[in-house]
């Protein structure tokens, strides 16, 4: 099962297993990772599961889609490494993925 590490806003690191095929957001929610609000339940309808992908993982995860890009425009502190975690589907290729959880989400 691929693992992903979340660096929380207080600096804590949490590494969790996420079943392949699940989104990064779903994995975070199962484990109760703080700071991933995921208000719409997943599906790129809001921007409250925003994370910063570690630069070395950027190429693997790829860029945000146009819709995601537009939604990220509403997320506080979004930058070129920002993604919506509901739009990252975990596969074995993502084993070791590291992301930073922002201090605040758009509305949470």
């Amino acid at each position: 099962m691929p693992r992903a590490t979340f660096i929380l806003s207080d600096g804590d690191r949490r590494t969790i297993d996420i079943p392949a095929g699940w989104s990064l957001m779903e994995g975070a929610r199962q484990e109760g990772i703080p700071g991933i609000v995921a208000e719409c339940g997943g599906g790129a309808l809001c921007s409250t599961c925003h994370v910063h992908v570690a630069p070395e993982w950027h190429e693997t995860t790829g860029p945000a889609s146009d819709l995601e890009e537009a939604l990220l425009g509403l997320a506080p502190g979004a930058d070129e490494h920002s993604r919506l975690s509901c739009q990252i589907e975990m596969t074995e290729a993502y084993d070791g993925l590291t992301v930073t959880v922002p201090e605040t989400q758009a509305t949470g």
Binding site: E31, G32, P34, E39, G41, G43, L45, C46, A70, A106
Partner: protein, 393 residues
């Protein structure tokens, strides 16, 4: 203070959020989350959408994996229905006769689907959809070629219709009101979804009610008050829910179509809170009493109650938010137009292309926004609810 026990009764969307929020806000005493269902807390929205379509699996519906509760110091008691509440003594009694003591109690009891009224002979033949077990059973029956009649054209009914069509089930919808999704969306949005369903061969019958249900040849035979008859292999009633208030009412807590709560989700009895679908809240800004049936409502209430118990700042008030998914269309709504006053609707975008936004003004103030496949516009305008029309244009 820190050793006080919080008992949360009802382990659904609201109850689970309250438990987690209490921990996040630093509550150090015990948190007991007692729920009647045998499942760990899960989300209901997919039950009429992805899960019902046959692709969703049960583990994915869980809000947290079961062991996460233990790790967070939350005592999750599944299969534990609370039968009796003594607010003076601070005790709850479960259906098994076990006693749970508490200092604070949060009622997160949810709601129960309404059945067809007694005046409709055979009305009990209609299934309802509220929990995972209902959805799992319904999912089994939705086989290609079968005939489904959905009674009630609200969000839930129309979602079930759409999902069933996706599985090649023949679908009719019977709605007594003159339009589908009658409670709260603009005429444009309702018409858009009506057309979307008809384009996919759903027979949408508005302004008619079911008069009786009798056993027929291949299942049930429904007679409508227009005299029309419909054959159905599967009948589902999606005609709304009733808030679960009995436990509270028996404990002497004020109820009236919901457990009555103030802006912080406090009931009429000190130390007892009510949140989610079971609560009717007096919203401070508008002075309106609202019983929301939405994930956002459940989550917001949970945070208010947790803040009140921990003595922390309440989260800021936000416009109610709701969404529905039917076919490839996702409708997001925020704000609530006051149904007693007229609305001036401004349409942007094109329903023909399946992407548009309706801005609803009342007295020149943006009261509500509805967006179909337009999440960016939606999120942008969400924050503008309550602003005057001039600043908007």
């Amino acid at each position: 203070m820190t050793t006080e026990t919080v008992l949360i009764i009802g382990a659904g969307q609201a109850g689970a959020e309250a438990a987690w929020r209490l921990r996040e806000l630093g509550h150090e005493g015990a948190v007991i989350l007692a729920g009647a269902e045998s499942h760990a807390p899960y989300e209901r929205p997919p039950l009429s959408k992805k899960f019902l379509s046959g692709t969703g699996d049960t583990a994915r519906l869980q809000l947290r994996k079961p062991t996460a509760y233990t790790e967070a110091g939350i005592d999750l008691l599944t299969g534990t229905a609370v039968r009796d509440l003594d607010t003076e003594a601070g005790t709850a009694t479960t259906a098994n006769g076990a006693r749970i003591d508490f200092d604070h109690c949060i009622l997160a009891l949810g709601a129960t689907p309404r059945h067809l009224p007694q005046s409709v002979p055979g009305g009990r033949a209609a299934r309802v959809l509220r929990d995972l077990d209902d959805a799992a059973e319904l999912r089994e029956t939705l086989q290609a070629g079968r005939r489904l009649v959905v009674i009630g054209g609200g969000y839930l009914g129309m979602e079930v219709a759409a999902t069933a069509r996706g599985r090649d089930v023949a679908v009719s919808v019977v709605e007594a009101a003159p339009a589908i999704m009658n409670r709260g969306v603009s005429q444009q949005t309702a018409a858009f979804f009506h057309a979307a369903h008809e384009a996919r061969c759903v027979a949408v019958k508005t302004g008619v009610a079911v008069a009786s249900i009798r056993p027929g040849k291949g299942g049930d035979l429904l007679t409508l008050d227009s005299g029309e008859e419909l054959e159905a292999g599967i009948v589902i009633a999606a005609i709304g829910v009733a808030p679960n208030t009995a436990l509270a009412a028996a404990a002497g807590i004020d109820c009236d179509d919901g457990i009555l709560v103030d802006g912080n989700c406090r009931t009429s009895v000190p130390g007892v809170y009510a949140i989610g679908d079971c609560a009717a809240q007096l919203v401070p800004s508008s002075g309106r009493r609202l019983r929301l049936e939405s994930v956002q409502g459940a989550v917001t209430h949970a945070r208010l109650a947790a803040a009140a118990i921990t003595g922390t700042d309440p989260p800021p008030e936000r416009a109610p938010y709701f969404w529905t998914e039917q076919y490839s269309y996702r409708l997001q709504m925020a704000g609530l137009a006051d149904p007693s006053r007229p609305c001036e609707d401004l349409l942007r975008g094109s329903p023909e292309d399946g992407s548009f936004t309706v801005y609803r003004f009342q007295d020149d103030v943006l009261a509500a926004v509805e967006a179909v496949n337009n999440p960016v516009d939606f999120v942008r305008s969400q924050g503008r609810i309550g602003q005057s029309r001039e600043t908007f244009e």
